[in-house]
Symmetry: C2
Subunit: 197 residues, 2 copies
């Protein structure tokens, strides 16, 4: 049974948060679990597969509890939902050391971390945009959130001293950047020209 997989992933999250992504090695994780590194290959085909599972776990933990059942249509306007998904994604990655680097890498290589993209696509499906443009918009939003949060976390972790005054600047920068992308999208989903005044 794949019954120990969750335990291995949970330990891997601990190692990630404590020592960083560079020190999350198969040998170190094995040592932490009291097991030879080769034993891990009975549960995961490769290190990349393991990292994908860790990225998905980080995202799952950062997911706000939804009071609506899974197959209910989410409430709120499509753009409010886009902001919610992007904000949640950023916060999920910031919650663990090197979280942004891990999730962005796993996503870039197509191994996992696909949930935020699905959520964004679902929200944009209600925007009235044609499917091709909605796909472009989804990817553009993801690139923004990944890129911004990677920068933010790198700078945050670089100087633990100056982190106190960097945090608010970056926080508003996230909102401002997201606003830029979102307005560009909004401009394309009105069939009629925007109302003047």
């Amino acid at each position: 049974m794949s019954y120990r997989r969750p335990d291995i992933v949970a330990r891997a999250v601990e190692v990630l948060d404590t020592y960083g992504l560079a020190d999350l090695t198969m040998r170190r994780l094995g040592g932490e679990l009291g097991v030879r590194p080769s034993a891990l290959y009975h549960h995961f085909a490769s290190k990349q597969t393991l990292l994908a599972a860790v990225a998905d776990e980080v995202l799952a933990r950062g997911r706000a509890p939804r009071d609506t059942p899974p197959d209910t249509v989410p409430d709120g306007s499509w753009d409010d939902r886009v902001v919610a998904v992007c904000t949640e994604l950023r916060e999920a990655m910031l919650a663990y050391r090197d979280g942004a680097e891990l999730v962005a890498t796993v996503h870039a290589f197509g191994l996992g971390a696909a949930a935020p993209g699905r959520d964004l696509a679902a929200a944009l499906a209600d925007s009235g945009l044609d499917p091709a443009l909605a796909g472009t918009a989804t990817r553009t939003l993801l690139h923004f959130v990944f890129g911004h949060t990677l920068d933010e976390q790198t700078h945050l972790q670089a100087g633990s001293a100056g982190a106190i005054e960097d945090q608010p600047r970056e926080r508003s920068d996230f909102a401002a950047g997201l606003g830029i992308v979102l307005d560009g999208i909004r401009l394309r989903c009105r069939v009629a020209p925007p109302p003047r005044g």
Copy 2:
């Protein structure tokens, strides 16, 4: 004299393009140069420093020849120049295997690849945007170009077979995504409402 540094970087670009970023190791590069790996540490303090130099070389080679002297104000409207810088950045990274991964990583860690950011900031300085927003806009554009091109190059290199039909789809997707971000920026730099008609 640092007279061999350019030779080392040139060889490193060859190794990158032939074998990929994962195989661009100090040991392999040393072997390619007929030298022990430890000899490289007389020219570069670390592998990261070397990679930064390689990234800057890739960007320099992709730079279109400018017929204007360095300290001349570039011609064209600010947004045309933004499109030019982003297009050139994408093409420079696509010109070498794993170019996007290399340049994006070096930039994220703040080790190099700073020229495109400077060029974008210079263009946006003429947009009438206030400096803080211009900084946000610069970073948002960079995140888009890095993220898009990383995706594009990964998919391009994954299937060499289907690359023929993927290329045009991605090419127009780049223009479309850039258009979204650029329109969001334009919306913020008009003090007066846009002229109707």
